[in-house]
Amino acid sequence: MQTPTIAGSAQPTLARGVRLQTDPKTGNSVLLFPEGVLELNETAQDILTLCDGRTVSEIIQALAEEYDVDLEMLAADVREILADLQRRKLIELT
């Protein structure tokens, strides 16, 4: 499926009924949603923690300051993860 590019000005937030919380068994973050659990890897966890009203560009910027990685690759990763979460209706873009 063709993934539409997510605009840098879009503001991702958790979709209605989706909760981000810590799994007491592992200490890692999980997304809880209607009849599903998604265990997050470190990148997804970092991105979702920043989905607090910031724009996609601001999220990429904040992650770039934290990690020493190629900015273009980082931006592509962030957009891919957000697109995947949006497809599963776990985040909304406004």
Partner: protein, 377 residues
């Protein structure tokens, strides 16, 4: 064997229900023991959280029948669980909706029998459809995410497109189009419920097209009609791996249909044992855990960690032995029995046949047809 951690608990808090759907997966014969009390359920919830459970589904029967449902939801939320209500919507008035929302209910899965009122009410054996439409509006107004569930069978499968349209007009976020699975009452009513091959082929096309058309708008989950598949479903992601069910009288089941489908397995009760012991140590949870129990052709099959040998309940119901390969699998020595059933149905043109409506615990089933036919009860 090391037990994995469970993620979800299905809390079947009652087998009582105002509907009489002939495809219900509840046992056709239930013991009349007392339902677990509020305090007992609260303890079960606490013990489930300690095991690692993150999600709880309140189901039944119709969970709204229990007046303490908001208390149970509050207890689950206080334990940080994600709470789903799986309901027919019957009994969901404004007061109850408010109480459930205030208790912290996270999401609702609302069942529908059809998009068409007359057909829906005939299938439910009750005037239910209009109440469901009202319930959907109340759930929306309360700001709670809404999933719709349609059980698909011979009598409604030709209206799949209209059912998807209904989900769209009710602004559901998710819709489950679940081809009927044959357990409990549905197993009893197989001859009336099994769709024809032609119907199944068309339904799949409609579901796939709708999935593509509504991507990003409604999440459509299509449950395959497994008798028509070549390989079995990966039932429960493996026995005793991720899920557990506690039924109304406190029995702990690896799968909600196990108590009726596999009568020779002894299921432990939360009134006698702690959940942790039952999950880790009990014979019922360990019997089919992992791959060691598997017979051939599963034992040497490259798919064995993908489909886990299919469904234990189905193996028990169709072959008389829960330890057999799911006979839906084309490699099963028992596949011929499934094929014979399909051949028989498809050669008879799939005409309407009578079904037996589900009845509540403690009452006797009535077979409609020979002496009397009543569309509505």
């Amino acid at each position: 064997m090391m037990a994995p951690r469970p993620y979800a608990l299905l809390a079947e808090i009652t087998y009582r229900c105002p509907l009489h759907c002939p495809y219900c997966s509840n046992p056709t014969q239930t013991r009349s023991d007392q339902e677990l009390t509020t305090n007992e359920w609260t303890r079960v919830i606490r013990e489930a959280v300690a095991l690692g459970v993150l999600q709880i589904g309140f189901s039944g029967g119709e969970p709204l029948v229990r007046r303490d449902l908001p208390d149970l939801i509050r207890a689950a939320r206080e334990a940080n669980l994600y709470t789903n209500l799986i309901t027919s919507g019957i009994g969901l008035d404004d007061d109850r909706m408010g109480a459930l929302r205030n208790a912290g209910l996270d999401s609702v899965q609302l069942s529908f029998q059809s998009d068409n009122t007359d057909l829906a009410d005939e299938i439910a054996g009750a005037r239910a459809h209009q109440h469901k439409l009202d319930a959907a509006a109340k759930i929306r107004a309360a700001g709670i995410p809404l999933s719709l569930n349609f059980v698909i069978h011979r009598r409604n499968i030709d209206r799949l497109l209209q059912m998807i349209d209904l989900a769209e007009s009710l602004q559901a976020e998710r819709v489950e189009l679940a081809n009927v699975q044959f357990y409990g009452w549905a197993f009893l009513n197989r001859a009336a419920l099994l769709p024809t091959r032609e119907q199944v082929v068309r339904a799949r096309e409609i579901a796939n097209a709708a999935k593509a058309r509504l991507a990003g708008k409604i999440d459509i989950f299509y449950v395959l009609p497994d008798y028509y598949e070549n390989r079995p479903k990966p039932c429960l992601s493996g026995w005793g791996q991720r899920y557990l069910t506690v039924n109304p009288i406190g029995e702990v089941l690896p799968c909600p249909t196990a108590s009726s489908a596999i009568p020779d397995l002894r299921f432990e009760n939360v009134r006698a044992r702690e959940l942790d012991w039952i999950w880790r140590e009990s014979e019922s949870f360990n019997r089919f855990r992992g791959t060691e129990w598997m017979p051939e052709p599963c034992q040497s099959c490259p798919q064995r960690e993908i489909d886990f040998g299919g469904c234990r309940c189905q193996a028990a119901l169709l072959t008389g032995n829960a330890g057999n390969t799911d006979p839906v699998c084309e490699l099963s020595p028992n596949r011929a029995s499934v094929d014979a059933l399909l051949r028989n149905l498809n050669s008879s043109g799939g005409q309407t046949r009578d079904w037996t409506y589900r009845v509540n615990p403690g009452t006797r089933p009535v077979i409609f047809g020979a002496f009397e036919r009543r569309a509505k009860v």
